[in-house]
């Protein structure tokens, strides 16, 4: 049987590989460090690793929200079949981000973690986002979708909008000064959410015109 490039059996492994690249790059950089070389992670590799994992997690999370607008623009419905994998990768990178902060920054001190969560706004926001992601990751299987029923499942997964906002706010509250990075990510998030608002409004108006003409 011949496989075409547009076949899901080709596209999905390709996407899996693409979403793994940030991690593979990071492992390669840590390999360099282990052999005593300074790589792209620079003079403070722990900070660079935390930042890189956080950036990657937030960007992949925003990518899951970009699937619907991309589908609407390129008019190719099968693209939504990638969303689960992208969402799970977002969860994976958020988890790695947390592990790198907890392990390398706090040296696995639970008291330090609890203190941070209670005391530091950006950690509180980030942790809330992570905790809310857990039920979404757990209910990502076909069995769970069936068990919850599509309506309830959909309602639960609307949480991703709040989680993405928490991610951007976490970024805002962790930076010093008024940096452009958080604004850029907020802008992208608002664009992606705005698309949905405009679309639902325009569908309503379209129906309205139809009714008026009748």
């Amino acid at each position: 049987m011949k496989l075409h490039l547009t076949d899901m059996r080709v596209l999905k492994p390709l996407l899996f590989f693409g979403l793994s690249l940030p991690l593979l790059w990071l492992l390669w950089q840590w390999g360099l460090l282990f052999t005593g070389k300074t790589g792209a992670l620079g003079a403070n590799p722990i900070e660079a690793t935390n930042r890189f994992l956080g950036d990657t997690a937030l960007r992949i999370l925003l990518l899951t929200l970009a699937i619907t607008p991309i589908r609407d623009v390129i008019k190719w419905a099968p693209i939504t079949r990638f969303r689960r994998m992208i969402g799970l990768f977002a969860f994976f990178y958020v988890s790695l981000h947390l592990v790198s902060y907890f392990g390398m920054d706090l040296l696995f001190s639970v008291t330090a973690l609890l203190k941070d969560i209670a005391k530091r706004t950006y950690i509180t926001l980030g942790m809330t986002g992570f905790v809310l992601l857990i039920p979404l990751a757990l209910t990502s299987t076909n069995t769970m979708i069936r068990r919850l029923g599509p309506k309830r499942w959909n309602r639960l997964h609307k949480l991703v909008y709040l989680i993405a906002l928490l991610g951007v706010l976490h970024y805002f509250f962790m930076t010093k000064g008024n940096q452009p990075g958080p604004w850029l990510h907020l802008g992208i998030l608002l664009l992606l959410l705005g698309w949905r608002v405009v679309k639902s409004n325009s569908l309503y108006k379209f129906n309205g015109i139809k009714i008026a003409r009748r």
């Binding site: 282990f34 003079a43 390398m104 000064g177 008024n178």
Partner: protein, 321 residues
């Protein structure tokens, strides 16, 4: 309304594009470069002007003996938001800053105000090498051999009057050369300040070099402050203005987040930054792989307490953070 152009008014397409105008020196410079390529080999060798100048300086008793941060790290990992908020940005983009000619304007409560050159302020025979620990407010530290002149010697020449209680410093602000200033990360230009007794303390250095050479742009060329018992951001870079004031001057980080950064900003392990602990610090460039994970305990006043604690006697340092 009909717009009638006056004969002397130029249309948009008759103007020199701003980009070309702003780059005019570069363009002329590149013409020079082309012609020098045609010149003899001997002439071509004069391009050594771009390599940093070696500086000779006396050793100082203030120097610490801790292992020094590798030069490559001290010059490639630092904050200089005028060139971007990533700590690798200064090394990437600070080359665009012109440091010659450079003038320093002295204003305010002093007898000898005016405009000075770097050479007016820095006398080669006064240069000292000071190996200091630099403690960043972000909880990392480096050990850097600076070369400079004690600030007190420079300030004394301006003859500050009795109203001069504080001194404020200002960093160069030139958006065409400093890409980070095109976004309002902070209220540009960057300003910092010291109380007069802090400025006149012998530890406070006006640095012009590091690691035996003149300062690279990313570390604050051609001259910057080093106040080793305070968080790094107090050690203002690329100074163009010195102003003697009677009132406590505002500082950039205090303006940006008064809850997080105070005027004094003395290194203090007992006063946390609202977003992270200041009890320990990561030592940059520790050498071994395992040292990446270790942290050292932060010392009060960054270890310079025996020299400076007395000037804060009776002050509540938790409130005056």
């Amino acid at each position: 309304m009909i717009k009638i152009s006056k004969p002397w008014q130029l249309s948009e397409n008759q103007c020199t594009p701003e980009k070309l105008y702003l780059n005019r020196r570069q363009i002329i410079g590149s013409i020079g470069l082309t012609s020098s390529l045609l010149a003899t080999e001997a002439q071509a060798k004069t391009k050594s002007a771009t390599t940093p100048l070696q500086l000779t300086a006396k050793a100082s008793e203030w120097s610490i003996t801790d292992p020094q941060t590798p030069e490559a790290m001290a010059t490639s990992y630092n904050n200089f938001y005028e060139f971007g908020t990533d700590k690798t940005d200064p090394a990437k983009y600070a080359k665009a800053m012109t440091t010659d000619p450079w003038t320093i304007t002295v204003e305010g409560e002093a007898n000898k105000t005016g405009t000075y050159s770097v050479q007016d302020l820095i006398r080669p025979d006064e240069l000292e090498e000071r190996i200091y620990r630099l403690r960043c407010v972000e909880a990392w530290s480096m050990v850097i051999p600076w070369i400079g002149v004690p600030l007190r010697k420079i300030l004394a020449r301006f003859e500050p009057n009795s109203s001069a209680k504080y001194v404020q410093f200002e960093t160069k602000f030139e958006p065409s050369q400093m890409r980070g200033t095109r976004w309002p990360v902070l209220d540009w230009p960057y300003v910092e300040g010291l109380r007069m007794d802090e400025a006149m303390h012998d530890l406070t250095l006006m640095a012009v070099g590091m690691y035996g050479r003149e300062l690279p742009n990313q570390n604050g060329a051609p001259l910057r402050l080093i106040v080793p018992w305070k968080y790094g951001f107090k050690s203002i870079k690329s100074i163009v203005k010195i102003r003697f004031t009677s009132k406590q001057p505002s500082t950039s980080w205090e303006k940006s987040a008064p809850r997080e950064y105070g005027f004094y900003s003395n290194v203090n392990p007992d006063v946390d930054h609202p977003r992270w602990s200041q009890a320990t610090e990561r030592v940059i460039g520790g050498g071994s792989f395992s040292s990446l994970f270790s942290r050292r305990k932060t010392d009060p006043f960054n270890g310079y307490g025996s020299a400076v604690a007395e000037i804060y006697a009776g002050m509540n340092l938790k409130r005056n953070f």
